[in-house]
């Protein structure tokens, strides 16, 4: 069976992440697409070859030939669009972060319950073989009890001034946009929520100052007497640094796991500055990762099997990031509010 999908939002993540996956897989067929920019929707439709352009999300949700909707829009719009799609009877795959607030995330979860439709959040890392391998080593007890977990994702954000990504109320900045990936990873690896989050954020770049969204964040998650985790995310590394430089370090009672950016084999072209041919060394597994995510979504809908990343998992990540955001404002460690 091929899942018939409508795409809402044909921007960055559609173009870089989903489009190559959708063109490669036969598990889903995109039958409709819409975007606030009709030209972008038309370009996406042309590349897919199977989709017609809808004038609006409301029109798209009403189409008959749809089983599911992919919400690939800016973060602050996720909740209302997801709820509308669920209420129109569609299953939903919504891009991360699930929402701009924990309250919105819970509204989405309640709508999925109420409508009996399936909801998955696009935490693509769950489908990246590198994290899967690391997680398997941890789960097998290879390094004993985890005492320390560190993940950095450092990049230059090339989004233009005024973009929603620089608007604190729309994206939450690097803390939400990237931090939610790291938080979800911590929750996935550790299987528990931290007690508190302590956060320092920067507003270093002019775009960040204008829009209010933090452009660097360091969060220490306290897991009690014998464990802590540190999240470090940045959009202020220089452009030549290359997109998405990332490090994972996990230290346990019996050993240590490491994964460095230098393991990601980015292809580099050096002209007057270094250019990374890949969109991202972190996501050099981009095509396979998003394809695996999309195919998992389609297969789980068909069989009724649970998603590998549940709504509760996504809410846990949102709760962690929201506590971290509270801490950045209060200057104190903040409890993770369930």
């Amino acid at each position: 069976m091929t899942l018939r999908v409508g795409v809402v939002g044909a921007g960055n993540i559609f173009e870089r992440g989903y489009l190559p996956a959708l063109r490669a897989t036969d598990a889903v067929r995109v039958t409709a697409i819409c975007d606030l920019d009709p030209g972008r929707a038309a370009a996406g439709a042309a590349l897919l070859g199977t989709a017609r352009v809808a004038a609006s999300d409301a029109e798209l949700f009403g189409f008959e030939d749809l089983d599911a909707v992919f919400i690939l829009t800016p973060t602050h719009t996720h909740a209302d669009l997801t709820i509308a799609a669920l209420e129109a009877g569609r299953h939903v795959l919504c891009e991360k972060p699930m929402a701009r607030s924990a309250a919105d995330a819970r509204r989405m979860a309640a709508a999925a319950e109420r409508t009996g439709r399936r909801l998955m959040i696009g935490h693509a890392r769950r489908f990246d073989d590198r994290w899967i391998v690391l997680r398997e080593q941890v789960a097998a007890g290879r390094i004993g009890e985890i005492a320390y977990l560190y993940r950095s994702e450092h990049a230059f954000n090339g989004a233009p001034d005024g973009s929603w990504q620089w608007r604190d109320d729309q994206s939450g900045g690097v803390l939400w946009d990237v931090g939610v990936h790291v938080s979800e990873l911590f929750h996935w690896f550790l299987g528990e929520l931290p007690r508190t989050a302590f956060t320092k954020v920067l507003h270093a770049r002019p775009e960040s100052n204008a829009g209010g969204a933090p452009d660097a964040a360091i969060v220490t998650f306290d897991y009690g007497e014998a464990r802590h985790a540190v999240l470090s995310v940045s959009w202020i590394h220089p452009p030549g640094w290359g997109p998405f430089y990332a490090t994972t370090e996990i230290v346990g009672t019996r050993g240590k796991l490491e994964s460095f950016d230098r393991d990601a084999h980015p292809a580099i072209v050096v002209g007057d500055r270094a250019e990374f041919v890949r969109f991202s060394p972190l996501l050099s597994a981009l095509a396979t990762t998003f394809r695996a995510e999309v195919e998992h979504f389609a297969a789980s809908i068909e069989t009724g099997a649970p998603f590998t990343v549940t709504v509760d998992d996504a809410i846990a990540a949102i709760d962690m990031v929201e506590a971290a955001e509270r801490s950045a404002r209060s200057g104190r460690p903040e409890a993770i509010a369930p």
Partner: protein
């Protein structure tokens, strides 16, 4: 002063195994004696025999300078005895276990007018030094973020020396975060060139719950001028890890960024069944000893002063205070 006469006081600090032969071979220094009558008297005797110097029970006055390698709880007593005699002092880190003792050491050295230096490794490593030069030339602009990692193996595995004081809550006091992290705390002060304002830290025994002291921690430090730094340090390298030590410094400024990974020399030989690390003089150890000897010979301020050692200790103590309180603290 052409060649300075140096004595070694104590044989507890693992650095002494590297420093002793380097001092004996130094072209501007002569090793006069090694003074040790504690648990490491045996290994001190073997070293003294190898280097052809006497092992003595008590430091004598026949030296221009000493390198203090006792456990840190003894530093203050040694400095208070030797500084008033005009003997210059290279005092291994931490300068003391308490700020009070550290202050007393700096004060007595100041009153005596002697040169006091505390050796820290990153200051003498090429990678961090190259970053520092670029910061000082303004190439990175205003500093925003600094990430530091400094981890190693539990020092109990160092062959030939009883360093069990390092895991003793009263004699070592700090555990892995303090033992390894102090080098990086000094490096952060040096690289950033400002003083810390506030710190939040989590430090615990999670990696080695069998030890009575902490084994890992992370501190987030905010500095004058607004830069934010992270430091993770501890005994995080399992015995099977390819290197004893590992370190990373990443500096992000308004105009550029720089990063160094594993600034240690790593000489190794491998055959079909195993690999072995080769002993060689490390450039950071050379730099620290050269700097001290040069400061004494030319009668100038050493590049790392007792005051620097004290400031690093105070920041380390603030990290522990934060971890105990569970709150950010002022430094």
């Amino acid at each position: 002063m052409n060649t300075i006469r140096i004595g070694i006081v104590g044989f507890d600090h693992p650095h002494v195994l590297r420093f002793a032969p380097m001092l004996a071979a130094h072209r501007h220094a002569s090793l006069t004696w090694i003074a040790e009558d504690g648990v490491n008297a045996g290994v001190a005797r073997a070293m003294a025999d190898r280097l052809g110097v006497p092992l003595v029970r008590e430091p004598a006055d026949d030296v221009d300078a000493v390198y203090i390698a006792t456990r840190p709880s003894l530093h203050r007593g040694v400095v208070e005895r030797l500084a008033p005699r005009g003997i210059h002092i290279l005092c291994d880190k931490p300068i003391a276990l308490t700020a009070e003792d550290g202050r007393a050491i700096v004060d007595v050295a100041g009153r005596a007018g002697i040169r006091l230096m505390v050796p820290f490794n990153p200051r003498g490593q090429d990678g961090p030094r190259a970053i520092k030069e670029r910061i000082d030339r303004g190439e990175l602009g205003e500093l925003r973020l600094v990430h530091a990692v400094k981890v190693g193996k539990v020092p109990l595995t160092i062959p030939g020396i009883d360093a069990s004081w390092l895991v003793d809550p009263t004699e070592g006091r700090f555990g892995g975060f303090g033992d390894i992290g102090l080098h990086a705390i000094d490096a952060l002060r040096w690289l950033i060139g400002r003083e810390p304002r506030r710190v939040y830290a989590r430090i615990h025994r999670g990696v080695r719950p069998d030890l009575a002291v902490d084994s890992i921690g992370t501190a987030t430090i905010e500095w004058d001028g607004g830069a934010v730094s992270t430091l993770t340090a501890g005994w995080a390298n399992p015995d099977g890890f390819p290197t004893f030590l590992d370190a990373r410094f990443e500096v992000v400024g308004s105009k550029g960024a720089a990063r160094v990974d594993h600034p240690y020399q790593d000489l190794r030989v491998a055959d079909a069944s195993r690999s072995e690390r080769l002993a060689a003089a490390r450039t950071d150890a050379v730099w620290n000893l050269d700097s001290f000897i040069d400061a004494v010979r030319r009668d100038v301020e050493p590049p790392i002063t007792g005051e620097d050692g004290l400031r690093a200790l105070e920041l380390l103590l603030a990290c522990y205070r934060s971890s105990e309180l569970g709150e950010e603290v002022a430094t």
